[in-house]
Symmetry: C2
Subunit: 230 residues, 2 copies
DNA sequence: TAGTGGTCTAGACCACTCA
DNA sequence: GAGTGGTCTAGACCACTAT
């Protein structure tokens, strides 16, 4: 009960009680008002602390019902999604970029579905290679909505679409998925690895409101991994 | 400016201004006090809104200096880390579990390093297979600190360590990493896939305070992916 | 209907850090 | 030294929902 910042101390104390089974899984914990009285602070302070625990997945809060210890403590991990150039430079390497294909054509059905577009709608297709110290780092295979302002005038041979979008077309939402894929001959050739090598794949779709912006598939050279703290 | 909840409306308005380059990347935005005056609300309400944007990576906030639009908008994605059984059942499949190996021996150097343990410290090593509708779903390769209370009495032939830990040893922190790996003959045999297949791998370490709990490597059958919204 | 969390206010003090 | 964000308070009203 020392002079630590109050809401963080309350949050830590609540974690302790959950860990110690004073508040067992599924149990209802005291009211915000009761806890405020116990800790000798304002209810808003307790609210702030419990909100954090709920965001961390340790509590489930329901109006009128109360706050409950999560029966199945689903942990959450937050990953940062950096721009590829920064990702390379953060490793102390020099970033390089090479545009391979730029064409406008109807997207494959799978891409159309991901973006919720009408069939046969022509999209700008970009295939590019990112390099780290001259070695293949990542393949950027992107489909871009040509209706986006500024796309027509952008020079994707100089600036990667990845970076152009970050700086020019902030998105409001989207989805991201991680998976593993074996290198087919084309990927192996571009990445300079053996065919069949296990590659880490990131697929991402982004929207600005209801309008689709882009769908991209990033295929990383062998050895890539994504890390976070939980 | 209609009757939406205030802090969420302020957060949305701030996002709009950032997207519209009214507040360009790197620029300093007005004080909390100024914004409160502009929006006609209390400073705490503005604070709540801007704190959300900072957590989302769109703003960088520094005392005395002010709040700045992030120069490189690092997006963040939050993934849920479910218990494997729930992961299977959420797909509408029946979960099965089979313990393959349980032994106590000094961990490999890599595992010792991940957990910060002294060399030659004996750990409980568990190798188990999770099934979905009878088919291999995931291999759980785990090293467990035997000093953890209750471990000695747990029956990991019946309950997976994954599930036992979640229900008995809440952790306070740790790390998680995603990567891709080719199936070696042993993995291929256990997962019923062809050797060389690209597999999705999750590695996780957890601690309770300063004490290491476990290091685990989850190798998923081909086709597995992890998704989130951003 | 009534209890609970969600939010807002107006004011205050503090901690950090830039100038 | 002074400006800014970080936090706390005491009180209030509202929204949702279990009963």
């Amino acid at each position: 009960m020392p002079g630590t910042l109050t809401w963080q101390w309350i949050a830590a104390e609540a974690r302790r009680r959950i860990a110690a089974r004073l508040w067992p899984p599924g149990a209802r914990i005291p009211d915000e008002a009761d806890l405020a009285a116990e800790f000798g602070c304002a209810r808003a302070t307790v609210n702030r602390a419990l909100r954090e625990l709920a965001a961390a997945g340790l509590l489930v809060r329901r109006r009128k019902a109360g706050s409950f210890v999560a029966a199945h403590p689903v942990r959450k991990a937050t990953f940062e999604i950096p721009v590829i150039r920064q990702d390379v430079e953060a490793r102390g390497l020099r970033h390089g970029y090479r545009l391979i294909v730029a064409e406008t054509l109807p997207a494959p059905a799978a891409v159309q579905a991901r973006l919720g577009l009408a069939p046969h709608a022509p999209l700008l297709h970009l295939l590019a290679l990112h390099l780290a110290d001259g070695l293949p780092f990542c393949i950027e295979d992107r489909w871009l909505n040509p209706a986006i302002p500024g796309v027509a005038g952008a020079d994707f041979a100089t600036v990667s679409a990845n970076e152009w979008l970050v700086q020019n077309r902030p998105f409001s939402g989207g989805g991201i998925a991680f998976s593993a894929q074996a290198a087919d001959p084309q990927l192996a050739g571009l990445l300079g690895c053996t065919p069949g090598a296990a590659l880490f794949v990131v697929e991402r779709e982004t929207w600005a409101g209801a309008e689709p912006i882009t769908a991209v598939r990033l295929t990383y050279a062998p050895g890539y991994s994504v890390a976070a703290t939980i």
